[in-house]
Symmetry: C2
Subunit: 500 residues, 2 copies
């Protein structure tokens, strides 16, 4: 079985801590083992390791997140990087083609696709592993995982199963069939497991041993209902409906055949070439809704979508991240402060205050999901970005009457890292080094830079910097067009730069 | 009559918009004529002009506010500047001595002292003018103004008058006395006014014409009660008590005699020399409480202490100052944003959000007066200061492991203004000019600086800059001790600097 974790979406529902350059899965707001703060993607990657399935996992993402993912889960993380952003159908198709044509995965192997940031117990990932057995047992096109609803939420999608009786009978039959087919007479599940190495089968069988309880067996899916009202949701739950948590599994061959049927390339390079022309459509729409036989496996454990401030803060151990204070009469109030100045909250309960260089949110928790609408017309540049080489923070932006603009940044270059060797056509830069030591190359000439040094970089002058020890510098950009895209890269790795 | 406006106190009750460098009277949050935003001190100075008494007004303040006061009410404002900060007794004593020994005011002249920032109608200042007549009429040591309470507030001081009956009789007597003494038979108040020029007398008399209503006449003060509980306040109001609004008048000779009695100098230079050794005691404690005969004059008009966020925001015409947005369901919520990033408020009512480079306050309005306690241990440098030459904003502060620190500021130097010619012993500075044009002198050498230029200023190098057009620059300071006090000034005015 292979796992594909989808790491996408810029999402403004956790503004101002999430922005176009930093999606919510990268926010380090959760408390991990030993009290270390971890992001959602770090947490899931750790859980995959603890569940023993990390070796079969890949992360599908866009170029914008490549550096950040390596920073969060390690430089060796296997990434499947889209040439440009599309939607989930192209992304999953590209991943399938990558597994088939580059990794050489068998068409018979099961592939499970899941979000990169579900907030769940480890059990969740073990349950994902069971989808393989569901496909094998039922011969379905696709096996989904559904979360047992805990309340009639109007914000989730529901997976509605076929009516109970028929399904229970089918379950019982399937279990009998499996027993007949799989276990040689007189061999216990444990023994078989020991003889075949790690497998989800014994646990699966243990669950199947109580068919009809609704806990172990999968159920055939009748239909899907997106975000019903609460009354409808209550009725759906009574029917046995489950929350759709975005986990689906299929045999690799199923999707490859589907691509062949549509005349799409099944080799990685070929699909990459056409990628930009693929329609922006979702996997749900293009594949799931077309499948004739879908099974859903129930997951009873803890699951939560930490996509909005009210749900995210419920999982925060501490009410205060960053500088600030809340008075004692503040109940259920959370402060997340990435600014260098204190936030004082007086006498307010059920409130979230989140501040970053992008802005400040002050919201009643119940109202916090509305931030996306409130920001509808907001088109600002991100003020903070993590990069492969470190990070930067925009301190100041000014526009002058003469048409020039200025941006002041504090830049942190990690020890041993370097910027690409590049130039800008429309801006000059001045670096004042605050701390650390490194080597600068400016139009081919090398120079050591350390605390107190100043480097002046005219427009069109090629430059790079490599940090021997972590460097902090203030960069003042001036020009008529100050955009991140104004960059011509001449080299990326230090070893190649020094050859130029 | 002379007016002394006390402009003091750093006050943290309007944090983060007020700080050690910018007291609340300088916040431009009120809407003045023509929709122009004005500060409390600008408003009062404008009202003094409209009431025709600005010519007799002086502002007593500390050195820290000197530049700011000139920026707000004009370079010609007559200031009485304390050599160092003490309390109200030394400040008022210095002002009295200044009027006596420098300005040459007669000992018979009345001096009225008032805060620089009462939020009142113009009528208030006319009423202050009437205190002179009260002193003349009653021969009291001191005449105060008291505000008619509108509710039993527990946060004000109360002026408690002598019981009604006796006072009413005294009033009637006094009025009769005044009539006898002042008005030649057959001459109406209006005529007398016309023959003598502007005077408060006719209106005074008009009020005296209805003695016992408590509206016109002054009442002898029995005692003072500071911040009583609400029950006590209710009883006090029934007794005819008034709110103490910090306005008191006396004959200049009264205070000068008091200084002589205490062996204090009555000449300006002499008192300045001893100033640092004067006790930090209040005028209330040292003078008012010792006076044997105090009269209080009732003021019935609008008066408000805009000292806390809940009272200040009540007078704000707009719910949003600066960048940001509040959702439609926010009721009675105010945002004051001096940061360059947006503040979004979702679904919160009766809340004030105030943000400056010093920090961010998010408070239930009723809880907002508690900010002072919440900040008790806070000892941060001001991040924004207005100066004689312009203003600066701290963008970033960093401390490094090697003991050095760095501060990055954006500095705005107004056209025609210059820094003093100075040096720093413990820090270097790098200026990157973002906009404007000016002349720099560095260790005696002159150089033109304009947008894009970089100037490197080592520690101990004397430097100054004069702006031909308004200049914006980024200043990066580096050193082991980065404090505003590390400055040795060699010259202040450009004409003298160029002689050095």
């Amino acid at each position: 079985m292979k796992l594909i974790l989808l790491s996408g979406g810029s999402g403004k529902r956790l503004w101002p801590l999430s922005n176009d350059a930093r999606s919510k899965q990268f926010l380090r707001v959760l408390e991990g083992p030993g009290g270390r703060m971890e992001s959602m993607v770090e947490r899931v990657w750790r859980q995959l390791g603890e569940s023993g399935v990390r070796e079969s996992a890949y992360i599908a993402t866009g170029q914008a997140q490549e550096e950040l993912l390596r920073a969060h889960v390690g430089p060796e993380v296997p990434l499947i990087v889209e040439p440009c952003r599309r939607d989930t159908f192209p992304a999953i198709a590209l991943s399938a083609v990558y597994l088939y044509s580059i990794v050489g995965v068998s068409l018979e192997e099961t592939v499970a696709v899941l979000p990169v940031d579900p907030y769940v117990e480890d059990e969740f990932f073990r349950r994902v592993g069971e989808l393989e057995a569901v496909i094998r047992r039922t011969g379905c096109d696709m096996a989904l995982m559904g979360v047992t609803p805990t309340y009639p939420s109007a914000k989730y999608g529901y997976i509605v199963p076929e009516p109970d009786a028929a399904q229970d009978a089918a379950d019982a039959e399937a279990v009998d069939g499996l027993r007949d087919r799989r276990l040689p007479e007189g061999m216990s599940a444990e023994k078989r497991n020991a003889s075949e190495g790690a497998s989800a089968l014994p646990e699966q069988l243990a669950r199947f041993a109580v068919p009809g309880t609704g806990d172990g067996a999968s159920r055939r899916v009748r239909r899907f209902t997106e975000k019903p009202d609460e009354t409808t949701a209550t009725a759906l739950i009574a029917e046995g409906a489950l929350w759709n948590c975005g986990v689906f599994a299929f045999k690799l061959g199923y999707l490859i055949q589907l691509l062949i049927d549509r005349g799409l390339p099944i080799h990685y390079d070929g699909l990459c070439e056409q990628y930009e022309r693929l329609a922006k459509t979702s996997f749900d729409y293009e594949v799931v809704e077309q499948a004739s036989h879908i099974e859903a496996l129930r997951y009873d454990g803890y699951w939560k979508d930490l996509g909005t401030w009210n749900t995210l803060t419920e999982e925060m151990k501490t009410p205060l991240l960053g500088e600030g204070r809340t008075t004692e009469d503040c109940r259920n109030t959370h402060v997340l402060n990435e600014l260098g100045i204190p936030i004082m909250v007086l006498g307010l309960s059920d409130v979230v205050v989140a501040a970053s260089p992008d802005g400040i949110l002050v919201a009643d928790k119940a109202a916090s999901p509305r931030i996306k609408e409130a920001l509808r017309d907001d088109e600002r540049r991100p003020m903070y970005e993590e990069r492969r080489w470190g990070h930067y923070l925009v301190l100041d932006q000014m526009r002058h009457d003469d048409g020039t603009s200025a941006i002041t940044k504090r830049v942190c270059l990690a020890a041993g890292r370097n910027f690409s060797y590049h130039y800008h056509t429309d801006r000059s830069e001045v670096w004042t080094v605050l701390g650390g030591r490194g080597e600068m190359i400016l139009d081919g000439a090398s120079r050591i830079l350390q605390a107190g040094d100043v480097a002046i970089i005219p427009a069109r002058a090629a430059h790079t910097l490599r940090a021997h020890t972590e460097m902090q510098l203030i960069e003042v950009q001036r020009g008529v067009r100050l955009v991140e895209e104004d960059i011509v890269r001449l080299g990326k790795e230090w070893s190649t730069i020094t050859q130029i």
